[in-house]
Symmetry: C2
Subunit: 96 residues, 2 copies
DNA sequence: TAATTTGGTTTATATTATAAACTTGTTTAC
DNA sequence: GTAAACAAGTTTATAATATAAACCAAATTA
């Protein structure tokens, strides 16, 4: 009845990051930080987790002289996100 | 852009409980346990939290000779649930 | 009447999210 | 030119959370 929710996505900040990446091809650290309102530390940690899970890829480069970390959703990430959305709907529609 | 999600509802088990109660007037402990697949301990704790938050009320009585704990969603709980669903939608629809 | 089941609660543990502190390098102001 | 402030993160510590394990009391069954 209630499907298990992917714990990697059932997290406010990680979900926000995935939501952004789902609609945008790629986004850098600063952009994600501004959009989510998260602290750098928190964002850094959650990006790591999404990367380890294979849900996103991270590319480190420079924009001018400044370091710039760019994130991109993977196919696996897209699948997981879609599955999560589907699963969650079971919880949001009351049984009535 | 991304509204804060009520942490009391952003929990797999509590959300499942609220989802059930949203559609059913009232439900007892055993029923909730069966429907959610949760352990008794976990369910007990989460019911406490929802009660403390004023999202549900708990009535302890007997069904025959057996103790029976009945849960019911409050108006505040309903509001919180609706607000949570609304907020969550911001996360589920990709920005694209 | 001894063992098992029902219906839970309490307590302990392991995970998680989050913030605080720190690092490296770059601008800007003096 | 150098000191102060800022950008872009990372690492580490802490606080909160979810979950399960252990426990308890009463009722039922063997």
């Amino acid at each position: 009845m209630f499907p298990k929710l992917d714990p990697l996505l059932h997290s406010e900040l990680r979900l926000a990051v995935m939501s952004i990446l789902a609609g945008v091809d790629e986004a850098d650290f600063s952009y994600l930080k501004k959009q989510t309102g998260a602290t750098s530390g928190n964002l850094s940690v959650q990006i790591d987790k999404l990367t380890s899970a294979g849900y996103i890829t991270v590319e480190k480069g420079f924009k001018g002289k400044m370091p710039c970390t760019t994130c991109k959703m993977t196919a696996a990430g897209r699948e997981a996100f879609d599955a999560y959305v589907t699963a969650l709907k079971e919880y949001l529609t009351t049984g009535a």
